[in-house]
Symmetry: C3
Subunit: 205 residues, 3 copies
């Protein structure tokens, strides 16, 4: 189980690094801007989670994550020099998997440190969305997570499914897989049919 997780976690880091690079590209940043944005997006959420849980920060304990981030950050640069088209559509699907995986990793790391279930759901969501929030704040964009389609809500849904699984004494592997599938399907559905939470601003005021 653990190795499987390690590799999927690396895949999540790589996908987020690529999304940071693409933002840097749109903002016409230089090579270092790429490294900063890719790193912030890929390892920001996990770093905040580990610091708050007071466990060793994952990319300090295991250098693989840092190298993966750097290599992934330069894939779009090389790609865009060769071909004018980047498969943004596939990236969004990969991003949904990355989000779901970060969510499950966050939940499991929190529970392994004896937090309550509500805190674990919060940690999963933070792991999933904080990197992208950081990317948008650095670039002075309105954070996507605050204003767009269902994104963080899909993490919370996955976390609730995980908690329900635990209540029914499911093995944590199955809880994890159920949460992963819930988050991915919910996110893909939100992308496909543009699901949104109601904006509660009331125009009568």
């Amino acid at each position: 189980m653990f190795d499987w997780f390690h590799w999927l976690n690396l895949a999540g880091v790589a996908v987020c690094a690529i999304s940071g690079t693409l933002m840097a590209y749109q903002k016409r940043m230089d090579g270092f801007g790429v490294v900063v944005l890719a790193s912030a997006t890929a390892i920001g959420g996990g770093t905040l989670r580990d610091v708050m849980l007071d466990v060793p920060v994952f990319w300090i304990a295991d250098t693989d994550y840092l190298y993966t981030t750097l290599i992934a950050a330069f894939i779009p640069i090389i790609w865009l020099r060769i071909s004018p088209r980047f498969p943004f559509h596939y990236l969004l699907i990969a991003d949904a998997f990355g989000l779901a995986l970060f969510n499950v990793v966050g939940i499991e790391k929190a529970l392994a440190n004896d937090t309550g279930m509500a805190v674990a759901v919060a940690m999963g969501t933070i792991t999933g969305v904080f990197g992208g929030l950081l990317r948008d704040v650095i670039c002075r964009e309105v954070p996507l997570v605050l204003n767009g389609e269902l994104y963080a809500m899909t993490c919370i849904a996955g976390g609730i499914v995980y908690g329900i699984g635990l209540q029914f004494d499911l093995a944590t592997q199955w809880c994890g897989i159920a949460a992963l599938v819930t988050t991915v399907l919910f996110r893909l559905g939100a992308m496909r049919w543009h699901w949104q939470l109601p904006v509660f601003y009331n125009d009568h005021h």
Copy 2:
């Protein structure tokens, strides 16, 4: 003493969560934007303080704070659906109490971890103002704490009063109450008479 603090701390968290929700309302954010902004405002300052002091983060150690934040975040939503008027004026007065309480909690938590008095004053101020700073940065507003009336300065004033109290061998309860009263009165005065620090930009340049 401790229980009294716990409940007032919960009240401070609730007030800050409500102020985050109202900002999300003005920015026409959706339901999750409300949760993010309310949480950042309510628990951001204390989280930064606990991480820097390397003590367990308060809302991870005690789930009450997380539930209080979530419940408080939805009070203005329900209120504004029922009534077009929200008592903003009372909220500002409550916010002054929240600021003062966060200040005292931050000072005491720092001193309990053997920091110097100057660090304790800084920790009280950070606990009081960082949540609002985070809220404003996420929303791309000019942070109120940087540009408006006396706000953080009232925390520093309260911290100095606390330190003077300790010098005169007052019991920490009385130091805390003196700091609380100083911060609240100073803040209410700043709101009532629009006290401001001098802006030091010199128009001759």
Copy 3:
């Protein structure tokens, strides 16, 4: 060796505090805005480093840094009241030394905590540039570190020199001095001749 480091570190903190104050001046902030921006710039990078390494935060462990920040923050205020001219040019040269020193301090603190060399280079760079990034995000400026001349890249270059030195079994003092000189010269060269990394945006798209 250690005392020498302590004093140069204090000098780096002072220079960064002054640069924060000057930004607050240009933004016409009040006295507290000065304190917030000066502190964020001076101690932001080291704080993030220490929190991620899970070692005591340097300005909490040693109050000298906090007092240095406060005193340095008010130097430009007093200076600009007396004389209309501030020696910005010398400040940039001092800033290059501050950047280089923060870089070396970050690398050595990481290595002392048994991180790999890649993580140590990242920690040096974070120590050097994160304070300025924070300053720019709070002020809603496009972060200089992302869009301007070679800045963070000079830290990475210094870090690589440090790592090469270690490979050749040089004493850490000499590695540190080599990294310091590399970073300073590289930065001064970038300022003098406006070296830039290529922006990889391709206008054909």
